[in-house]
Subunit: 168 residues, 2 copies
């Protein structure tokens, strides 16, 4: 049982946006801090934007920020978007199901209830909850991207070269 990396990286993207809010975050910051590819994060930011979780600012010095308060976005809600249709077992999708027991098997009902219990927990956890220990998180993210270090927060622009701009 595994979440897709796509979901995992989408949550990390929202978490970093929450940590930097209201300042802008860039694709390169998330990609560098987590050692992921820019194109992967670009795709995620696009989908999170379309779904109303992020707002983006175009152009030089642009980036993205949370479009809703971090305390209003739940992890469960994000996962429902990024995981797509939840098919814990194949019979959750009647169009591709091959199991001859479809419709009479009580296992699918049990797994359905278990999946609901999984999401009920994550529907009570918000992006604010997973970003609350801000200094510890920024300290770790700064291992790969020193600009994110908590001590640099609020220091303003111009003290050191910043690869992405977007501060302000």
């Amino acid at each position: 049982m595994k979440l897709t990396s796509y979901s995992n990286y989408a949550l990390r993207t929202l978490q970093m946006a929450a940590l930097r809010h209201p300042r802008l975050t860039t694709v390169a910051m998330v990609a560098n801090a987590h050692r992921l590819s820019n194109s992967h994060i670009t795709k995620i930011v696009h989908e999170l934007g379309q779904a109303g979780f992020l707002e983006t600012v175009r152009g030089r010095g642009g980036g993205f920020r949370l479009a809703r308060p971090a305390g209003d976005i739940t992890v469960g809600e994000v996962l429902r978007l990024t995981e797509g249709p939840i098919e814990v077992v194949e019979c959750f999708n009647p169009t591709t199901n091959t199991c001859p027991l479809f419709g009479v098997c009580r296992l699918s009902g049990a797994i359905n209830r278990a999946t609901r219990a999984f999401f009920e927990v994550l529907d009570r956890v918000t992006i604010a909850d997973i970003s609350a220990n801000r200094d510890a998180l920024l300290g770790r993210l700064a291992l790969h991207l020193p600009d994110l270090a908590p001590s640099a927060e609020g220091a303003g622009d111009g003290h050191a070269p910043r690869p992405e701009g977007g501060e302000g």
Copy 2:
């Protein structure tokens, strides 16, 4: 979020063993009824045997049956065996984790609690529960393997060619 096919087929194997209990079930019965490969089911039966869920009878007319009462084997317990270490997100495995937030991120704790909630539901569902509507299940399984039809249950040997034997 998805269970492995291995887990899915392991549960179907135990379900069929419960439906036929105390008579023996064969690898070919499970494979034919579900249109899966014999080698896939052979591997599953071997692991379920090693773990004490199934007992096997070797030789001509052999097969396997549940080694414990169906009402004592929970779906959660089977999944813990067949899913191996549960790594819903990569940081559940410290040796392969690449996330720089390991140890300070509260997302992993939340997903851990959600995963526990998932298993708590399935720890209350037994193989007997998912095999209770026996006639409906056997009717469906018989679509690909007429020997399994409920009407043939208890009819004894010798009335029709049986590809696997194992009745008795």
